[in-house]
Amino acid sequence: MTQMTFARAINSGLRKSLENDPKVILMGEDIGTLGGVFRITDGLQKDFGKHRVIDTPLAESGIMGTAVGLAYRGYRPVVEIQFDGFVYPAFDQIVCQVAKLHYRTQGAVKMPITIRIPFGGGIGSPEHHSESPEAYFTHTSGLRVVSVSNPQDAYIMIQQAIASNDPVVYFEPKRRYHDKGEVDESVDPASALSMEKASVVTEGTDVTLVSYGPLVKTARDAALAAADDGVSVEVIDLRSLSPVDFSTVEASVRKTGRLVVTHEAGQFGGIGGEIAASITERCFYHLEAAPVRVTGFDIPYPYSKLEMHHLPDLDRILDGVDRALGRPNSLSGLEG
């Protein structure tokens, strides 16, 4: 066990993957000499060489499309998208190629590409640097999507993502990069909990609170605060967003009868709606109240002076918990 930052944990996982499999290649803008704008790839080019940790020209479709070609040739490219808001030029290659080539070729061509995307807000950045585009990817069949919430998972799941024969979009909660946690680097990713499984990070009985990525910490804090108030919140860290581990969520909701989902992304068509709808389908008769969503607004990511209003925080989550429990809340009195 070592104390390390989230950033370091990913770095260490990448290093392990580079060591273990010569087919692993890292590609991206500024990931070499600089070690990435967040230093996630710090030192890797120095240790593995310019041919395995590649600074690419400034063109996201180019990066993704050449990664596809490398995968065709048997490589396992790990692509860094510098910030969430810069993934869109690569969207065509992701949706039409990365996601579909395995299907198109009836399994002949594997696309073991990992797309690392630092995502989410709360870091005081200008436009395009704080987005949460995960729903675009979870709605794209052929992709797997994960998001990590703590250094240990970050370390393990980056290796699992790289080892997967399917393309994986790996969302890194950038505002947690400097948070520290215990990491056991001796854990073998192959025997660790599969990246497809959710995990119950706080047990509780009154309401199920589902989250992922940056808000898991906030959700746990909310559970602590709620406990003070006599409310027992079960917090689930989804970890995988495609597929979502509905069994774990369902089991919890069957117990609590109430569901709150929280994420930074906008609400309309976000993961929260899918989980609300799917859980309602699966356990309608166990639900005591309508599932509640506590999410970012459906607006372009706002300038940093106001981002704390956009981002769900502890208070907004608790307000959502109150709504799920039918306790007085900000919308009390409104029909529903």
């Binding site: 499309g65 050449t66 490398l70 490219p77």
Partner: protein, 392 residues
Amino acid sequence: MNADDLSQGGTTAAGPDNWANHHYRTGGNLVQLITPGGERVSHPEYDVWVKDVTDEQLASLYEDMVVIRRIDTEATALQRQGELALWPPLAGQEASQIGSARALRDDDFVFSSYRENGVAYCRGVDLTDIVRVWRGNASAGWDPYSINMATPQIIIGAQTLHATGYALGIQHDGADSVAMAYFGDGATSEGDVNEAMVFAASFQAPVIFFCQNNHWAISEPVGLQSHIQLADRATGFGIPSVRVDGNDVLAVMAATREALERARHGGGPSFIEAVTYRMGPHTTADDPTRYRDANELEDWAAKDPMTRVRSLLERRESWSEELETRVAAKADAVAQEMRSGCINMPDPQPLDVFKHVYSTPHSWLERQQDHYSRYLASFGDPAQAASEEGAR
């Protein structure tokens, strides 16, 4: 004869030996080695690349062209007869496809668009596989690794990046094979094609950008995409390029061999503009009379890629009745094989739609498949129930 002969030839010995320092050539004049009338004209730079090509080999290229035109005609007929949903004809582009594809080695890897069925033929594709997609029985007809050719790419230009990435892999492996990207004149406008040139130039990747300028992108004339010749586009990326008569199989082969040798020897990417013409419609769904002139078609008919080779062989007295008969028989046999493969293709099974979305099970999709199989079973149709079993 063995087509592989053409992928080797005497070229390595013949070519300039310092590829990395090879000067950039702007498109300039069209490289032509056989005139439309069938005269072999000499070219100071390109003759050397095909000096090993015998009349017998020329006849073999002729045969290839006849065969793929026949594939084209047969497939068009199959479409008219309702056996195919769609077909993108290659008629007119035989020399571009054969001249380039026959220059490749087996271990080179091709990334093409939807129109390179002649190239697929050269790569040794199973004839049934050619029509699989167009019949609607699959999204891709073949296993790319079985013939070292990716399946047709419909997103215009996307494959040029795949070829470039594949070439980076070749480079990483220290191999001397080459990635070949086929695309059209219209494709040159897409960001992807330009980014592919950026990456290829930056890493000096062993990739060839083979642009078949067939003058049309559906209804749009090439002049809408560029008012200067397409070969010059590459120059701006620091990629050597050449503009070649795309209806001259020998010239195309020479240019391709040159580019291949450059790539094999660390000289990086090349761009070839093969100037040709799409004699048919964009696809069988298209009506070109709405947008182009019959005169244009006539002009190009006079430049037919097969006629000129035949004339040349005749001039050289290498033409014979026997050859003609043999070629026709071959074309017939190929067409027949494709037709029967097409018609007898078994229909896919309903639950096949769920196959291969992922390489390992995905819980959400598994549940969806389970529900759909229950749905099918709810009709109590034993045939459907059986096919379900098979698919799982």
